[in-house]
């Protein structure tokens, strides 16, 4: 005779979930035991539920962390991809060009060098006039009209200089190492080639030559941007060539800032990736949960096949 009082309809709905002994109880002596078992199973269920709930909470936290890390990484990747081309090329390209003939290093903008365009007298006078305007402004910072790539990384600076000074030195707040000098056609003044003193880590090059049309102007052409902090502008620059040094330094600092930003971003990415990797791999809970999840998935796939 069954003494089941049917107080729990679930017994019928989910018999497999309940302990077998509870179903087998059928004697009057077992009534009390049955209730005890039921209580026990309920408490066990509660414990199990608590355990599963805490596991659920942990997984949610881990998922939130992984989401955060993932989207931080994704955001950085997008940033990198959007800014990658101009700045990375900016630094890498000049390094590839180190073996080129210095003559091919850069072209003078707007016919200031011994270009064929100067054969035309009208062009020549036009350029001469341009130079005088630039001289009157003490300095002018121009970009050559070569192509869009060079526009981003080449700057030309015109600096008034004493005609008797043959040093071809342009003070711009950075230290330079002279590595060559060359006499060019149609210009009695030689052209000097400089590398940044931080070379080869810094790719910036500079060439200086007196203007063929006006020897009182030094034409300094910069290629690349500094990727390091430069020395402060000297007081001599500020006093003797106030206008020119100011503009020149602005230009140089702009390049320096770009280089620093690139370095900072690279460092940040590396640190971020390392931190994420180490935090994820060092977290034993995470690896255990991950292993469980992967195993579960594999088992699921196996059972499907």
């Amino acid at each position: 005779i069954s003494l089941n009082l049917n107080t729990n309809p679930f017994d019928r709905s989910f018999p497999a979930k309940l302990p077998k002994e509870e179903i087998k109880v059928s004697t009057s002596a077992g009534v009390e035991r049955k209730w005890l078992v039921k209580d026990k199973s309920a408490s066990e269920l509660r414990e199990e539920l608590n355990r599963v709930n805490s596991e659920n909470k942990k997984i949610k936290e881990m998922l939130a962390t992984v989401y955060e890390n993932y989207y931080a990484l994704h955001h950085h990747l997008e940033k990198l991809q959007s800014r990658k081309s101009p700045e990375i090329d900016h630094i890498e390209q000049p390094m590839k060009k180190t073996k080129q003939d210095p003559e091919e290093f850069l072209g003078f903008p707007n016919g200031l060098s011994s270009g064929k365009t100067e054969n035309s007298s009208s062009n020549q006078s036009h350029h001469y006039q341009q130079q005088h305007e630039q001289k009157n402004q003490l300095l002018s910072c121009k970009r050559p009209v070569t192509d869009s790539f060079n526009k981003a990384r080449v700057s030309t600076v015109y600096v008034p200089a004493d005609s008797s000074d043959t040093s071809l030195t342009v003070k711009d707040g950075y230290q330079w190492r002279k590595y060559g000098q060359k006499v060019t056609r149609d210009n009695p003044s030689p052209r000097a080639y400089f590398r940044c003193s931080f070379a080869p880590s810094c790719p910036v090059k500079k060439k200086v030559q007196r203007s063929a049309e006006d020897p009182s102007i030094l034409v300094a052409t910069y290629e690349g941007t500094h990727n390091h902090l430069g020395p402060n502008a000297s007081a001599g620059d500020a006093t003797s060539q106030a206008g020119s040094s100011t503009v020149t330094l602005d230009m140089v600092h702009g390049g320096q800032k770009l280089g620093l930003e690139t370095n900072e971003r690279r460092t940040m990415q590396e640190v971020l990736v390392q931190q994420m990797a180490s935090s994820l791999t060092n977290d034993s809970n995470f690896t255990a949960a991950l292993a469980t999840a992967i195993t579960g998935r594999l088992l699921m796939e196996q059972s499907r096949t």
């Binding site: 679930f10 509660r46 539920l49 599963v52 659920n56 997984i59 992984v66 890390n69 990198l80 990736v273």
Partner: protein, 39 residues
């Protein structure tokens, strides 16, 4: 009814855990792909 409610809740949370674990696995896979791209 308490037991049945507990069992129902247990089933629900277990199912949720399973889904969350799957999502976590997927996220980790995606994260690793992204990490490789950045390396």
């Amino acid at each position: 009814s308490t037991t049945s409610a507990l069992v129902e809740e247990l089933k629900r949370v277990n199912a949720e855990n399973k889904k969350l674990s799957e999502m976590l696995t997927l996220m980790c896979e995606n994260y690793n792909v992204l990490r490789k791209q950045l390396m």
